[in-house]
Each structure stands twice: as C-alpha cells, then as structure tokens.
C-alpha cells in the first residue's frame, strides 16, 4: 500500500536541546494511526512538523507522493491535511457558524466539490455544524464556547476541507464522557464513512486501542515501538 503521508529522518532541535531524532513514519490512505508517548517526548513537535507549522532541521515529509516538507500550514490544509490544536485558539469576534465558513471559504475547489456552494452560502456550514452537534450554538461567539464545544468546533473546522488526513493533537483531553463519546463517533464516521485517515495523538491507551489500527510509541524523540491492534 502506498503511504498517504510519509516522514523520513525527521530531526528537530530547539537550541541545543534535541527534540526529535530521525523519526520515520507513514500513514496509509484511510488508515487510523495513534501516536502515544509521555509528556515531553516530542509528540506536538512532530505534529507541528507534519502539519507545516514547524520546519524540521533534517528529513522530508511527503503527502500523496509529493514532497511537502517546506509547505506551510495553510497550503497543507488545502491539499487535504487538516489538524486540530491541543489548546484551541478560537476567533473571539466570530460566531461558530462564521468560524466554519472561514474554513469553507479558504478552499473554493473543495467547496464546489462538496455541493457547489459559493462563499456566502450557508448549506455546507450548516451541515458541518449539524454533524458536529453545534447547530444550536451556531450564533454563539466562539469565545463563549465550553471546552467540549471548542473541540467540536476544531473538528468541524478540520472536516471543512474534506480532508484526506486528520492530525488530531490531544483532541480528547479534558472532555466530559459525553463529549468524548460524541467525538469518538464522529471520528469513526469520518474514518469508516468517508475513508479519512487520521493520526491521533493521545495519552489514553484504551482510547487509542479502540480507534486505531496501529499505534506508534514516541519516547525521547524516537519511535521506540509500533503496535498493530
């Protein structure tokens, strides 16, 4: 199987502190992969490099056969790699619906593919909000959302580009059991229903086992184990 996303020899240091040392990994099309590791093992740095927020000191990242090592975050989103943040950064002055419309407006090609919507049409935004359980909060300013709703909004924003790969950084942390259950169902639906691959970063081994086919274990900047579930 050709890899959808592959990273080879990813190395990163902050000053004199090495954070990642020669990481090599791959995610196949539609494959659910987990990334587990203790605090400070380099998970978020790796996610930042894979999503285009950081440049590696060495190594290459390829997606769909193209090298994307130096491609920025926004360009990777338009290619079909969507990421969520461990700590969401909501738009304080925008409503929930507007936040989703920003993500829909950023990629006219994909938006048209998703039903011929134009910039000011609200159909796709309403659909995403209904799907992520945010429809009734669509007029609420993002700054007033609870932690659970913020995670749902992160998910809605990520799904707006109809991604081929989702990179989810600790999206299940600090959630109620109900929110965790809903987000788990959403992630399964995206993966099984739409064939979206994901790389899920989590501290929760049972959750990773229930959602992922393969789990990578990161310790001190190296992948030390790979488990097939």
């Amino acid at each position: 199987m050709n890899a959808l996303l592959s990273a080879e020899g990813i190395t990163k240091s902050f000053g004199t502190t090495p954070v990642l040392s020669g990481i090599t990994l791959s995610v196949g099309p539609g494959e659910p992969v987990g990334l587990f590791g203790p605090n400070g093992s380099g998970k978020t740095t790796l996610v930042n490099i894979l999503s285009g927020l950081l440049l590696p000191d060495a190594g290459t990242v390829r997606f769909d056969g193209k090298e994307i090592t130096r491609l920025p975050l926004d360009a990777r989103y338009r290619l079909g790699i969507a990421r969520t943040f461990q700590i969401p950064h909501p738009y304080p002055a925008l409503s929930v619906r507007e936040a989703v419309r920003v993500a829909l407006a950023a990629d006219p090609g994909k938006r048209t593919e998703g039903g011929g919507a134009r910039e000011n049409e609200e159909g796709p935004a309403e659909d995403l909000l209904a799907r992520t359980g945010l429809f009734n909060q669509r007029f609420v300013p993002c700054a007033q959302l609870s932690q659970g709703c913020l995670r749902r909004l992160e998910f809605a924003r990520a799904l707006a580009c109809r991604p081929k790969l989702l990179i989810l950084d600790e999206i299940f942390s600090a959630l109620s059991a109900a929110d965790e259950g809903d987000l788990t169902a959403l992630l399964r639906a995206a993966n099984r229903g739409e064939g979206t691959a994901f790389l899920l970063v989590s501290h929760n081994p049972p959750l990773l086992k229930s959602l992922c086919r393969r789990i990578l274990v990161l310790e001190e900047g190296r992948i030390v184990r790979e488990k097939t579930v």
Partner: protein, 337 residues
C-alpha cells in the same frame, strides 16, 4: 433581527437626511467647510478601520497613503499637467500599491511590531515631505516643504455648497464600499486573521496574502480621501502625512468602535465638527482627542457601536432552528450514515 436592521437603517436615513438638509439652513461658510473636511476625515477614519479594526493590523502610519495620494494629485496635475480625473485615479492606485507594499513588509510581523513598522514608514514619508523643497514651480517658487504643492484645479472658486455635497456623496459611497468589503467573504476571513492567525492558517487561509489585501483596500480608500482633501484645500502639504493625522484616524476608530466601519465615521464626524467648530487651537484639539481616547479605552473598550451592540445582544437572544438533514457524501459520492 429584521427589526434591528430596520432600526439601524432608520437612524442612518435620518442622519443622512439631516446632513442633506443642513446647508439649506443657510449656515456660515466656515461650518460648511468644517463639515466638508469632517466627511473626508470620516472616510479616512473608516479606511483605518478596514486595516486596524476589521483586519486587526494596528497601523500608526495610515496618513502615508492619504498623503501620498494628495501629493500624487498635486504633482500629476501641477507638474505633469494630467487631467484631474486621471490624476485622482492614479493617486488612488498609487495609494493602494503603497498599501500592498506596507502589507507585504508587515505580513511576517504581529501586534506592536506592525504598529512600529507603519509608524516608521509614515514618519519617513512625513520627514521627506517636510524637509525638501523638491520642485520649482512656475515663476521660480519652491514647491514642497511646509508650503506643500498646489493642485491644478479646473475650477476657480468652488462653492462651499458643492464641496459639501460632493464630500458627503463621497463619504456615503466610500462607507458603503468599505462596509460591503468588511461583510464580504474576504472581510470574514480578515476578521478571522485578526482574531486568531494560527487558527485561520490552520483553516487554509494564506494570511500574508490577506494582510496585503487589507492594507491595499484600506489604503485605496485612504488615498481616495486624501485626493479629495487635496482637491478641497487646493494643495498637498506635509500635514497630510503627519503622525497626528494617523493618530486621529486611530482615535476615531477606537471611539466609534473598531471593526464596525460605521462607528469611526460617526465618531470622526461628531468629534471633528465639535472640536473644529469650537475653533480650538490645534494643541488643545490634540489634547481633547487624547482625552477622549483615554476615556473610551477605560470605560467603553468596544467604542460607541461596540458598546451599543453588546447592550443589544444582552437584551435580545437569537432563536434556534431545526438542524438541516445531513447531505454529507464521501469521496465516492455515496451518502454517509
């Protein structure tokens, strides 16, 4: 929501109606001039709001496109002999290009660094204009420096009434254009960039391109106001590039409500007409502007319009509705469960 729009529309119509009728009350030519300048400054303040409010790029050098357009108008008509409409169009294009350039320079920066960069660029332009008598006009008169450069106008003495109505028409058209821009898809994306650049970028927004767009559009409107101001006073002077002018625009926006477009227009009109109408000396006006800004920032951080909106949203809720039936499809075109 419809009632609120009708309410706002009613206030707007009443305001424009009063301004249309004001010259019929046979006011002093001085007051007509104060209002005419006020209309141009109001459009300038709204253009600051496109950059600093809607897009969150706090600029302290917004007089640069205003003054550059005024100087372009003066130079192109007086020195190159261009027809006035062509010179005005070129001046607006020049302002937009200057804005895009400032946007490109400030794109990698954030917050106070954008303010410092724009302040520095504005001051360079101001000092260049103040310190140089760079052209010699007819009869050997030095052009430039404090005296500025005259605009070759195709009319001799414009009537204060025609200037008043022309400036009012310009303000209405420019405000409508800026309002439409701020409420467009691009405006929504700019508000997102202002609120959280990292989330906007993670949503596929090329933020450097949108920052350039914000500066270019805001500067084009500032340039139009600057060209209008040069036509009104008959010359471009170094004051058109001054820090005081940039500060005034930012103050009007903060007092009226950043990001609202209408707020800065109203604040500029009210404050300018009040302070200028009282014939206060310039130093006192600067002090009063600063004082008004301090009071607003301390007690009404959302400005007049922002505070009014907060009050309105606290008083009235938004109704819910049934979510639509899901129409999601996978990449193979199949419906999802």
């Amino acid at each position: 929501m419809r009632n609120a729009a009708a309410f706002r529309g009613g206030w707007l119509a009443a305001g424009i109606g009063l301004l249309l009728l004001f010259p019929l009350s046979s006011p002093d030519a001085f007051f007509l001039d104060v209002f005419t300048t006020g209309f141009l400054l109001a459009a300038f303040a709204a253009s600051w709001d496109v950059v600093g409010g809607v897009s969150g790029q706090t600029t302290l050098g917004h007089a640069l496109p205003f003054g550059a357009a005024a100087y372009a108008c003066a130079l192109l008509t007086s020195l190159a002999g261009w027809p006035l409409p062509l010179a005005v169009a070129a001046a607006i294009v020049l302002a937009a290009v200057a804005g895009a350039g400032i946007g490109a320079l400030s794109a990698p920066l954030a917050g106070p660094f954008v303010a410092l960069l724009t302040l520095a660029l504005g001051e360079i332009a101001h000092e260049a204009a103040v310190g140089n008598t760079f052209f010699t006009g007819p009869g050997g008169y030095a052009w430039g420096g404090e005296g500025g450069i005259p605009v070759a106008l195709p009319w001799r003495d414009a009537s204060p009434f025609s200037s008043y109505y022309a400036a009012l028409a310009f303000l209405c058209l420019a405000s409508y254009g800026m309002l439409r821009f701020s409420r467009s898809g691009a405006g929504l994306i700019l508000r997102a960039v202002a609120g959280s650049p990292i989330t906007a970028q993670a949503s596929g927004v090329p933020i450097a391109r949108y920052k350039r767009l914000a500066f270019a559009v805001g500067s084009a409107f500032a340039g139009a106001a600057g060209a209008g101001f040069a036509l009104h006073v008959g010359r471009a002077t170094a004051t058109d590039l001054s820090l005081e002018l940039s500060f005034q625009a930012a103050t009007f926006a903060a007092v009226g409500g950043c990001g609202t477009i209408v707020g800065p227009v109203v604040a500029a009109l009210v404050l300018h007409v009040l302070f200028q109408g009282l014939s206060l000396p310039p130093s006192s006006r600067v002090l009063l502007y600063a004082l008004t800004l301090l009071v607003t920032l301390r007690f009404f951080p959302g400005g007049v319009v922002g505070t009014a909106r907060d009050l309105a949203s606290r008083l009235g809720g938004k109704e819910g509705a049934r979510p639509p039936r899901r129409r999601g499809r996978n990449r193979n075109g199949e419906g999802t469960p």
